[in-house]
Symmetry: C2
Subunit: 273 residues, 2 copies
Protein backbone atom coordinates (compact mmCIF):
# COMPACT_ATOMS: atom_id res chain seq x y z
CA UNK A 1 0.00 0.00 0.00
CA UNK A 2 1.99 2.96 1.22
CA UNK A 3 5.71 2.87 1.53
CA UNK A 4 8.95 4.18 2.88
CA UNK A 5 10.18 7.54 1.64
CA UNK A 6 13.82 7.23 0.77
CA UNK A 7 13.94 3.56 -0.15
CA UNK A 8 14.44 2.75 -3.77
CA UNK A 9 12.14 0.35 -5.56
CA UNK A 10 14.44 -2.66 -5.24
CA UNK A 11 14.66 -2.14 -1.50
CA UNK A 12 10.91 -1.84 -1.31
CA UNK A 13 10.29 -5.04 -3.21
CA UNK A 14 12.67 -6.88 -0.97
CA UNK A 15 11.18 -5.51 2.21
CA UNK A 16 7.50 -5.29 1.41
CA UNK A 17 6.51 -8.87 0.70
CA UNK A 18 8.06 -9.93 3.97
CA UNK A 19 6.80 -6.93 5.87
CA UNK A 20 4.65 -8.85 8.28
CA UNK A 21 7.44 -11.32 8.76
CA UNK A 22 9.87 -8.47 9.38
CA UNK A 23 7.48 -6.83 11.75
CA UNK A 24 6.67 -10.09 13.45
CA UNK A 25 10.35 -10.53 14.08
CA UNK A 26 10.72 -6.81 14.72
CA UNK A 27 10.54 -6.85 18.47
CA UNK A 28 13.37 -9.35 18.54
CA UNK A 29 15.49 -7.53 15.99
CA UNK A 30 18.57 -5.70 17.17
CA UNK A 31 18.70 -1.97 16.60
CA UNK A 32 21.48 -2.67 14.12
CA UNK A 33 19.09 -5.07 12.42
CA UNK A 34 16.43 -2.39 12.18
CA UNK A 35 18.98 -0.10 10.58
CA UNK A 36 20.03 -2.79 8.16
CA UNK A 37 16.44 -3.57 7.23
CA UNK A 38 15.95 0.06 6.37
CA UNK A 39 18.80 0.14 3.87
CA UNK A 40 19.48 3.14 1.67
CA UNK A 41 20.10 5.32 4.69
CA UNK A 42 16.57 4.95 6.01
CA UNK A 43 15.92 4.26 9.65
CA UNK A 44 12.95 2.08 10.35
CA UNK A 45 11.74 3.20 13.73
CA UNK A 46 10.19 0.85 16.23
CA UNK A 47 7.12 3.09 16.08
CA UNK A 48 6.81 2.50 12.35
CA UNK A 49 7.17 -1.21 12.74
CA UNK A 50 4.36 -1.20 15.29
CA UNK A 51 2.16 0.96 13.07
CA UNK A 52 2.66 -1.47 10.23
CA UNK A 53 1.72 -4.36 12.49
CA UNK A 54 -1.53 -2.58 13.25
CA UNK A 55 -2.32 -2.46 9.53
CA UNK A 56 -1.89 1.31 9.25
CA UNK A 57 -0.35 2.84 6.13
CA UNK A 58 3.40 2.43 6.23
CA UNK A 59 5.12 5.74 6.89
CA UNK A 60 6.85 7.92 5.93
CA UNK A 61 4.70 8.15 2.84
CA UNK A 62 7.00 10.39 0.79
CA UNK A 63 9.92 9.23 -1.34
CA UNK A 64 12.79 11.10 -2.93
CA UNK A 65 11.89 12.65 -6.26
CA UNK A 66 8.15 12.58 -5.57
CA UNK A 67 5.79 14.91 -7.39
CA UNK A 68 3.34 16.03 -4.71
CA UNK A 69 0.03 17.67 -5.62
CA UNK A 70 -2.28 19.54 -3.26
CA UNK A 71 -5.86 19.73 -4.49
CA UNK A 72 -8.96 21.29 -3.03
CA UNK A 73 -10.92 24.51 -2.58
CA UNK A 74 -10.11 27.97 -1.20
CA UNK A 75 -8.45 26.54 1.89
CA UNK A 76 -5.85 24.86 -0.32
CA UNK A 77 -5.83 27.65 -2.91
CA UNK A 78 -5.08 30.27 -0.22
CA UNK A 79 -4.26 33.11 -2.60
CA UNK A 80 -1.83 31.20 -4.82
CA UNK A 81 -0.71 32.92 -8.03
CA UNK A 82 -2.59 30.83 -10.58
CA UNK A 83 -0.54 32.12 -13.52
CA UNK A 84 2.59 30.54 -12.03
CA UNK A 85 2.91 26.83 -12.46
CA UNK A 86 6.49 25.85 -11.68
CA UNK A 87 7.03 23.30 -8.94
CA UNK A 88 8.12 24.55 -5.48
CA UNK A 89 7.34 28.19 -6.30
CA UNK A 90 6.32 29.91 -3.06
CA UNK A 91 3.83 32.26 -4.75
CA UNK A 92 2.30 29.37 -6.70
CA UNK A 93 1.84 27.42 -3.47
CA UNK A 94 -0.29 30.13 -1.82
CA UNK A 95 -0.19 31.14 1.82
CA UNK A 96 -2.10 28.29 3.43
CA UNK A 97 -1.39 24.86 4.88
CA UNK A 98 -0.20 23.52 1.50
CA UNK A 99 2.53 26.16 1.34
CA UNK A 100 3.50 25.79 5.00
CA UNK A 101 3.75 22.00 4.74
CA UNK A 102 5.67 22.30 1.46
CA UNK A 103 8.05 24.88 2.91
CA UNK A 104 8.96 22.52 5.72
CA UNK A 105 9.48 19.59 3.36
CA UNK A 106 11.69 21.68 1.08
CA UNK A 107 13.70 23.25 3.93
CA UNK A 108 14.22 20.03 5.86
CA UNK A 109 14.82 17.69 2.92
CA UNK A 110 16.45 19.59 0.04
CA UNK A 111 18.12 16.35 -1.05
CA UNK A 112 14.73 14.70 -1.62
CA UNK A 113 14.09 16.86 -4.71
CA UNK A 114 10.36 16.99 -4.21
CA UNK A 115 8.35 18.72 -6.92
CA UNK A 116 5.33 20.28 -5.23
CA UNK A 117 2.25 21.80 -6.84
CA UNK A 118 -0.93 23.41 -5.57
CA UNK A 119 -4.04 23.34 -7.77
CA UNK A 120 -6.71 24.22 -5.23
CA UNK A 121 -9.44 26.53 -6.54
CA UNK A 122 -11.66 28.66 -4.36
CA UNK A 123 -15.29 27.56 -4.11
CA UNK A 124 -14.73 24.06 -5.50
CA UNK A 125 -16.90 21.07 -4.67
CA UNK A 126 -16.17 17.45 -5.60
CA UNK A 127 -17.92 17.68 -8.99
CA UNK A 128 -15.83 20.73 -9.88
CA UNK A 129 -12.63 18.86 -9.13
CA UNK A 130 -13.90 16.15 -11.48
CA UNK A 131 -14.49 18.71 -14.24
CA UNK A 132 -10.88 19.88 -14.20
CA UNK A 133 -9.23 16.61 -13.12
CA UNK A 134 -7.57 15.67 -16.40
CA UNK A 135 -5.64 18.92 -16.65
CA UNK A 136 -5.22 19.79 -12.98
CA UNK A 137 -4.35 16.34 -11.66
CA UNK A 138 -3.86 13.45 -14.07
CA UNK A 139 -1.62 15.35 -16.49
CA UNK A 140 0.67 16.33 -13.61
CA UNK A 141 1.14 12.61 -12.79
CA UNK A 142 1.52 13.10 -9.04
CA UNK A 143 3.22 10.38 -6.99
CA UNK A 144 1.44 11.76 -3.94
CA UNK A 145 -1.99 13.38 -4.22
CA UNK A 146 -3.49 15.23 -1.26
CA UNK A 147 -7.12 16.36 -1.42
CA UNK A 148 -9.11 18.58 0.92
CA UNK A 149 -12.68 19.00 -0.30
CA UNK A 150 -16.13 19.06 1.25
CA UNK A 151 -16.95 22.27 3.07
CA UNK A 152 -18.47 23.83 -0.06
CA UNK A 153 -20.34 20.61 -0.87
CA UNK A 154 -22.05 21.21 2.49
CA UNK A 155 -22.12 25.00 2.78
CA UNK A 156 -23.35 25.85 -0.71
CA UNK A 157 -26.51 23.82 -0.16
CA UNK A 158 -27.31 26.32 2.59
CA UNK A 159 -25.98 29.51 1.10
CA UNK A 160 -25.80 29.23 -2.67
CA UNK A 161 -28.78 27.06 -3.57
CA UNK A 162 -26.56 24.15 -4.61
CA UNK A 163 -28.62 20.98 -5.08
CA UNK A 164 -26.05 18.64 -3.52
CA UNK A 165 -26.48 15.93 -0.92
CA UNK A 166 -24.17 14.03 1.38
CA UNK A 167 -24.66 10.96 -0.82
CA UNK A 168 -23.63 12.92 -3.90
CA UNK A 169 -20.48 14.11 -2.10
CA UNK A 170 -19.46 10.63 -1.05
CA UNK A 171 -20.21 8.86 -4.33
CA UNK A 172 -18.67 11.68 -6.38
CA UNK A 173 -15.53 11.55 -4.24
CA UNK A 174 -15.29 7.76 -4.67
CA UNK A 175 -15.70 8.02 -8.43
CA UNK A 176 -13.01 10.69 -8.60
CA UNK A 177 -10.55 8.49 -6.73
CA UNK A 178 -11.39 5.38 -8.77
CA UNK A 179 -10.74 7.39 -11.91
CA UNK A 180 -7.47 8.60 -10.40
CA UNK A 181 -6.32 5.09 -9.46
CA UNK A 182 -7.14 3.87 -12.95
CA UNK A 183 -5.01 6.58 -14.55
CA UNK A 184 -2.26 6.53 -11.89
CA UNK A 185 -2.19 3.03 -10.37
CA UNK A 186 0.73 3.80 -8.04
CA UNK A 187 -0.41 7.17 -6.75
CA UNK A 188 -0.23 7.46 -2.97
CA UNK A 189 -3.32 9.23 -1.65
CA UNK A 190 -3.82 11.62 1.24
CA UNK A 191 -7.43 12.48 2.06
CA UNK A 192 -7.96 15.42 4.40
CA UNK A 193 -11.01 15.67 6.64
CA UNK A 194 -13.14 18.74 5.85
CA UNK A 195 -13.70 20.99 8.85
CA UNK A 196 -16.08 23.65 10.12
CA UNK A 197 -15.65 25.78 13.24
CA UNK A 198 -18.39 27.65 15.00
CA UNK A 199 -16.93 31.12 14.37
CA UNK A 200 -17.90 34.22 12.41
CA UNK A 201 -21.37 35.36 11.42
CA UNK A 202 -22.59 32.46 9.33
CA UNK A 203 -21.80 29.13 10.91
CA UNK A 204 -24.43 27.89 13.36
CA UNK A 205 -23.67 25.34 16.02
CA UNK A 206 -26.72 23.43 14.80
CA UNK A 207 -24.93 22.79 11.48
CA UNK A 208 -22.26 20.62 13.08
CA UNK A 209 -24.29 17.46 13.41
CA UNK A 210 -25.10 17.35 9.73
CA UNK A 211 -21.60 18.45 8.82
CA UNK A 212 -20.14 15.52 10.73
CA UNK A 213 -21.62 13.32 7.98
CA UNK A 214 -19.16 14.89 5.53
CA UNK A 215 -16.27 14.16 7.90
CA UNK A 216 -17.36 10.54 8.17
CA UNK A 217 -17.81 10.29 4.41
CA UNK A 218 -14.27 11.58 3.80
CA UNK A 219 -12.91 9.05 6.27
CA UNK A 220 -14.81 6.20 4.58
CA UNK A 221 -13.60 7.30 1.17
CA UNK A 222 -10.03 7.35 2.52
CA UNK A 223 -10.36 3.88 4.01
CA UNK A 224 -11.84 2.60 0.78
CA UNK A 225 -8.75 3.54 -1.21
CA UNK A 226 -6.12 2.91 1.47
CA UNK A 227 -5.30 6.60 1.77
CA UNK A 228 -3.58 8.37 4.62
CA UNK A 229 -6.31 10.33 6.43
CA UNK A 230 -5.58 13.75 7.93
CA UNK A 231 -8.14 14.41 10.70
CA UNK A 232 -8.38 18.21 10.39
CA UNK A 233 -11.84 18.50 11.92
CA UNK A 234 -10.83 16.48 14.98
CA UNK A 235 -7.62 18.47 15.25
CA UNK A 236 -9.54 21.76 15.19
CA UNK A 237 -11.93 20.50 17.86
CA UNK A 238 -8.85 19.95 20.03
CA UNK A 239 -7.47 23.35 18.98
CA UNK A 240 -10.71 25.03 20.12
CA UNK A 241 -9.97 23.82 23.64
CA UNK A 242 -6.63 25.66 23.47
CA UNK A 243 -7.97 28.96 22.04
CA UNK A 244 -11.33 30.27 20.78
CA UNK A 245 -12.49 29.09 17.32
CA UNK A 246 -11.86 32.46 15.67
CA UNK A 247 -8.18 32.10 16.57
CA UNK A 248 -8.05 29.31 14.01
CA UNK A 249 -10.57 30.48 11.38
CA UNK A 250 -12.29 33.86 11.65
CA UNK A 251 -15.28 32.82 9.53
CA UNK A 252 -15.25 29.21 10.66
CA UNK A 253 -13.87 27.99 7.31
CA UNK A 254 -10.80 29.92 6.18
CA UNK A 255 -7.82 29.34 8.46
CA UNK A 256 -5.83 32.14 10.05
CA UNK A 257 -2.03 31.93 9.98
CA UNK A 258 -2.27 29.97 13.24
CA UNK A 259 -4.90 27.67 11.75
CA UNK A 260 -2.83 27.04 8.64
CA UNK A 261 0.22 26.31 10.79
CA UNK A 262 -1.46 23.61 12.86
CA UNK A 263 -2.96 22.15 9.67
CA UNK A 264 0.48 21.94 8.05
CA UNK A 265 1.82 20.16 11.12
CA UNK A 266 -1.08 17.73 11.18
CA UNK A 267 -0.56 17.02 7.47
CA UNK A 268 3.18 16.39 7.92
CA UNK A 269 2.53 14.20 10.93
CA UNK A 270 -0.09 12.20 9.04
CA UNK A 271 2.30 11.41 6.19
CA UNK A 272 5.09 10.66 8.65
CA UNK A 273 7.33 13.52 7.52
CA UNK B 1 6.19 10.89 17.91
CA UNK B 2 6.06 9.39 21.30
CA UNK B 3 7.03 11.59 24.16
CA UNK B 4 9.08 11.20 27.23
CA UNK B 5 6.33 13.31 28.69
CA UNK B 6 4.56 10.07 29.48
CA UNK B 7 7.43 8.81 31.61
CA UNK B 8 7.10 9.37 35.30
CA UNK B 9 9.92 10.78 37.37
CA UNK B 10 11.06 7.38 38.66
CA UNK B 11 11.45 6.15 35.12
CA UNK B 12 13.45 9.20 34.18
CA UNK B 13 15.77 8.87 37.15
CA UNK B 14 16.37 5.27 36.30
CA UNK B 15 17.06 6.01 32.65
CA UNK B 16 18.88 9.32 32.76
CA UNK B 17 21.90 8.63 34.99
CA UNK B 18 22.82 5.59 32.93
CA UNK B 19 22.25 7.35 29.65
CA UNK B 20 25.73 6.92 28.23
CA UNK B 21 25.80 3.34 29.34
CA UNK B 22 22.42 2.68 27.73
CA UNK B 23 23.42 4.47 24.58
CA UNK B 24 26.82 2.83 24.40
CA UNK B 25 25.04 -0.48 24.30
CA UNK B 26 22.33 0.99 22.09
CA UNK B 27 23.34 -0.34 18.72
CA UNK B 28 23.63 -3.82 20.11
CA UNK B 29 20.34 -3.65 22.01
CA UNK B 30 17.37 -5.56 20.68
CA UNK B 31 14.30 -3.59 19.73
CA UNK B 32 12.61 -5.24 22.68
CA UNK B 33 15.45 -3.87 24.78
CA UNK B 34 14.87 -0.41 23.41
CA UNK B 35 11.22 -0.73 24.30
CA UNK B 36 12.05 -1.95 27.76
CA UNK B 37 14.54 0.84 28.34
CA UNK B 38 11.83 3.32 27.55
CA UNK B 39 9.42 1.95 30.11
CA UNK B 40 6.12 3.61 30.95
CA UNK B 41 4.82 3.14 27.44
CA UNK B 42 7.52 5.24 25.80
CA UNK B 43 9.33 4.02 22.72
CA UNK B 44 12.94 5.05 22.42
CA UNK B 45 13.59 5.32 18.73
CA UNK B 46 16.79 4.22 17.07
CA UNK B 47 17.18 7.82 15.92
CA UNK B 48 17.17 9.01 19.52
CA UNK B 49 19.70 6.42 20.54
CA UNK B 50 21.99 7.56 17.74
CA UNK B 51 21.54 11.23 18.65
CA UNK B 52 22.43 10.48 22.24
CA UNK B 53 25.49 8.52 21.13
CA UNK B 54 26.60 11.67 19.36
CA UNK B 55 26.56 13.48 22.70
CA UNK B 56 23.39 15.41 21.97
CA UNK B 57 20.88 16.11 24.75
CA UNK B 58 18.50 13.24 25.38
CA UNK B 59 15.12 13.82 23.73
CA UNK B 60 12.25 14.36 23.99
CA UNK B 61 13.10 17.10 26.42
CA UNK B 62 9.59 17.81 27.73
CA UNK B 63 7.85 15.97 30.54
CA UNK B 64 4.27 15.93 31.75
CA UNK B 65 3.41 18.84 34.00
CA UNK B 66 6.32 20.97 32.82
CA UNK B 67 6.25 24.73 33.20
CA UNK B 68 7.75 26.02 29.97
CA UNK B 69 9.00 29.59 29.64
CA UNK B 70 9.87 31.38 26.40
CA UNK B 71 12.22 34.32 26.89
CA UNK B 72 13.74 36.79 24.48
CA UNK B 73 13.16 39.97 22.51
CA UNK B 74 10.52 41.15 20.02
CA UNK B 75 10.71 37.92 18.04
CA UNK B 76 9.53 36.02 21.10
CA UNK B 77 7.29 38.85 22.37
CA UNK B 78 5.44 38.99 19.01
CA UNK B 79 2.61 41.21 20.19
CA UNK B 80 1.71 39.27 23.32
CA UNK B 81 -0.73 40.93 25.72
CA UNK B 82 1.60 41.77 28.57
CA UNK B 83 -1.19 42.44 31.06
CA UNK B 84 -2.27 38.81 30.82
CA UNK B 85 -0.16 36.35 32.72
CA UNK B 86 -2.04 33.07 32.93
CA UNK B 87 -0.36 29.99 31.52
CA UNK B 88 -1.45 28.77 28.06
CA UNK B 89 -3.37 31.94 27.26
CA UNK B 90 -3.22 32.45 23.49
CA UNK B 91 -3.17 36.26 23.71
CA UNK B 92 -0.45 36.14 26.37
CA UNK B 93 1.66 33.91 24.15
CA UNK B 94 1.72 36.42 21.26
CA UNK B 95 1.58 35.58 17.59
CA UNK B 96 5.09 34.34 16.96
CA UNK B 97 7.01 31.07 17.08
CA UNK B 98 6.49 30.76 20.85
CA UNK B 99 2.71 30.75 20.38
CA UNK B 100 2.81 28.44 17.36
CA UNK B 101 5.04 25.93 19.12
CA UNK B 102 2.91 26.16 22.27
CA UNK B 103 -0.31 25.71 20.30
CA UNK B 104 0.98 22.47 18.82
CA UNK B 105 2.14 21.16 22.20
CA UNK B 106 -1.22 21.98 23.78
CA UNK B 107 -3.29 20.57 20.90
CA UNK B 108 -1.28 17.38 20.49
CA UNK B 109 -0.65 16.62 24.17
CA UNK B 110 -3.54 17.93 26.27
CA UNK B 111 -2.84 15.17 28.80
CA UNK B 112 0.66 16.52 29.44
CA UNK B 113 -0.75 19.55 31.28
CA UNK B 114 2.01 21.87 30.20
CA UNK B 115 1.96 25.38 31.67
CA UNK B 116 3.43 27.68 29.07
CA UNK B 117 4.48 31.31 29.47
CA UNK B 118 6.00 33.94 27.21
CA UNK B 119 8.00 36.78 28.74
CA UNK B 120 9.82 38.08 25.68
CA UNK B 121 10.12 41.88 25.54
CA UNK B 122 10.74 43.85 22.39
CA UNK B 123 14.19 45.39 22.03
CA UNK B 124 15.82 43.31 24.76
CA UNK B 125 19.51 42.44 24.83
CA UNK B 126 21.19 39.98 27.21
CA UNK B 127 21.81 42.59 29.93
CA UNK B 128 18.13 43.56 29.87
CA UNK B 129 17.09 39.97 30.41
CA UNK B 130 19.44 39.96 33.41
CA UNK B 131 17.78 43.10 34.82
CA UNK B 132 14.34 41.49 34.89
CA UNK B 133 15.41 37.87 35.43
CA UNK B 134 14.26 37.47 39.03
CA UNK B 135 10.68 38.42 38.27
CA UNK B 136 10.38 37.27 34.68
CA UNK B 137 12.18 33.95 34.96
CA UNK B 138 13.34 32.68 38.37
CA UNK B 139 10.03 33.41 40.15
CA UNK B 140 8.15 31.44 37.50
CA UNK B 141 10.34 28.39 38.30
CA UNK B 142 10.34 26.98 34.76
CA UNK B 143 11.16 23.32 34.22
CA UNK B 144 12.08 24.18 30.64
CA UNK B 145 13.51 27.57 29.74
CA UNK B 146 13.89 28.59 26.10
CA UNK B 147 15.83 31.76 25.25
CA UNK B 148 16.22 33.57 21.94
CA UNK B 149 18.42 36.64 22.35
CA UNK B 150 21.18 38.31 20.38
CA UNK B 151 20.00 40.21 17.34
CA UNK B 152 19.61 43.45 19.32
CA UNK B 153 22.98 42.90 21.04
CA UNK B 154 24.38 43.08 17.51
CA UNK B 155 22.01 45.46 15.75
CA UNK B 156 21.83 48.20 18.39
CA UNK B 157 25.59 48.71 18.20
CA UNK B 158 24.98 49.77 14.61
CA UNK B 159 21.69 51.57 14.90
CA UNK B 160 21.12 52.74 18.46
CA UNK B 161 24.61 53.63 19.67
CA UNK B 162 24.68 50.69 22.10
CA UNK B 163 28.22 50.16 23.46
CA UNK B 164 28.07 46.37 23.35
CA UNK B 165 30.56 43.87 21.99
CA UNK B 166 30.45 40.22 21.00
CA UNK B 167 32.46 39.40 24.12
CA UNK B 168 29.95 41.22 26.31
CA UNK B 169 27.11 39.24 24.70
CA UNK B 170 28.78 35.90 25.27
CA UNK B 171 29.98 36.53 28.82
CA UNK B 172 26.68 38.16 29.81
CA UNK B 173 24.77 35.19 28.39
CA UNK B 174 27.00 32.74 30.31
CA UNK B 175 26.53 34.65 33.56
CA UNK B 176 22.77 34.70 33.08
CA UNK B 177 22.67 30.94 32.63
CA UNK B 178 25.01 30.28 35.58
CA UNK B 179 22.71 32.38 37.73
CA UNK B 180 19.74 30.44 36.38
CA UNK B 181 21.31 27.04 37.08
CA UNK B 182 22.17 28.15 40.60
CA UNK B 183 18.57 29.16 41.32
CA UNK B 184 16.98 26.30 39.35
CA UNK B 185 19.44 23.37 39.34
CA UNK B 186 17.14 21.06 37.38
CA UNK B 187 15.99 23.49 34.72
CA UNK B 188 16.26 22.09 31.17
CA UNK B 189 17.61 24.74 28.83
CA UNK B 190 16.87 25.49 25.20
CA UNK B 191 19.12 28.08 23.56
CA UNK B 192 17.97 29.43 20.20
CA UNK B 193 20.41 30.68 17.60
CA UNK B 194 19.86 34.37 16.79
CA UNK B 195 19.30 35.02 13.09
CA UNK B 196 19.54 37.79 10.54
CA UNK B 197 18.32 37.66 6.94
CA UNK B 198 19.42 39.99 4.17
CA UNK B 199 15.98 41.52 3.60
CA UNK B 200 14.37 44.93 4.05
CA UNK B 201 16.05 48.33 3.94
CA UNK B 202 18.50 48.05 6.79
CA UNK B 203 20.35 44.74 6.78
CA UNK B 204 23.49 44.69 4.65
CA UNK B 205 25.01 41.48 3.35
CA UNK B 206 28.33 42.71 4.75
CA UNK B 207 26.89 42.44 8.28
CA UNK B 208 26.58 38.68 8.08
CA UNK B 209 30.19 37.78 8.72
CA UNK B 210 30.29 39.71 11.99
CA UNK B 211 26.82 38.50 12.93
CA UNK B 212 27.94 34.89 12.57
CA UNK B 213 30.04 35.52 15.69
CA UNK B 214 26.81 35.90 17.65
CA UNK B 215 25.50 32.60 16.25
CA UNK B 216 28.71 30.85 17.26
CA UNK B 217 28.62 32.47 20.70
CA UNK B 218 25.06 31.25 21.29
CA UNK B 219 26.08 27.74 20.25
CA UNK B 220 29.08 27.80 22.61
CA UNK B 221 26.93 29.05 25.46
CA UNK B 222 24.46 26.24 24.76
CA UNK B 223 27.19 23.62 24.71
CA UNK B 224 28.61 25.02 27.92
CA UNK B 225 25.40 24.40 29.83
CA UNK B 226 24.26 21.22 28.05
CA UNK B 227 21.32 23.00 26.46
CA UNK B 228 19.33 21.92 23.44
CA UNK B 229 20.37 24.24 20.60
CA UNK B 230 17.83 25.40 18.01
CA UNK B 231 19.73 26.39 14.85
CA UNK B 232 17.39 29.14 13.60
CA UNK B 233 20.03 30.99 11.57
CA UNK B 234 21.06 27.80 9.74
CA UNK B 235 17.41 26.91 9.21
CA UNK B 236 16.68 30.32 7.68
CA UNK B 237 19.71 30.00 5.38
CA UNK B 238 18.10 26.79 4.11
CA UNK B 239 14.71 28.53 3.93
CA UNK B 240 16.19 31.27 1.75
CA UNK B 241 16.98 28.61 -0.86
CA UNK B 242 13.28 27.72 -0.90
CA UNK B 243 11.90 31.28 -1.11
CA UNK B 244 13.35 34.82 -1.00
CA UNK B 245 14.44 36.16 2.41
CA UNK B 246 11.53 38.60 2.70
CA UNK B 247 9.17 35.61 2.58
CA UNK B 248 10.49 34.72 6.02
CA UNK B 249 11.19 38.15 7.55
CA UNK B 250 10.32 41.36 5.72
CA UNK B 251 12.89 43.46 7.59
CA UNK B 252 15.40 40.64 8.00
CA UNK B 253 14.64 40.27 11.71
CA UNK B 254 10.92 39.99 12.46
CA UNK B 255 9.43 36.77 11.08
CA UNK B 256 6.38 36.68 8.85
CA UNK B 257 3.69 34.10 9.57
CA UNK B 258 5.64 31.69 7.36
CA UNK B 259 8.87 32.49 9.19
CA UNK B 260 7.25 31.96 12.59
CA UNK B 261 5.79 28.65 11.39
CA UNK B 262 9.11 27.18 10.32
CA UNK B 263 10.68 28.46 13.56
CA UNK B 264 8.02 26.72 15.63
CA UNK B 265 8.65 23.48 13.75
CA UNK B 266 12.41 23.78 14.21
CA UNK B 267 11.90 24.43 17.92
CA UNK B 268 9.60 21.41 18.34
CA UNK B 269 11.99 19.23 16.36
CA UNK B 270 14.94 20.39 18.46
CA UNK B 271 13.24 19.44 21.72
CA UNK B 272 12.05 16.16 20.21
CA UNK B 273 8.35 16.98 20.48
Amino acid sequence: MTTQATMNDETLKSVQPSRREFVGAGLGLSAAGLLAAGAGGTLLSVENALAATAGEPFKPLLRSGDTILFQGDSITDAGRKRERDEANDAAALGLGYAWLASAQLLINSPEANYKIFNRGISGNKVYQLAERWEKDCLELKPDVLSILIGVNDFWHIRKNGYDGTLEKYQSGYRELLERTRKALPNVRLVICEPFLLVAGKEVKESWLEEFSGYCTAARRVAEGVGAVFVPFHSMFLAACKVAPPDTWAGDGVHPSASGATVMASAWLKAVGA
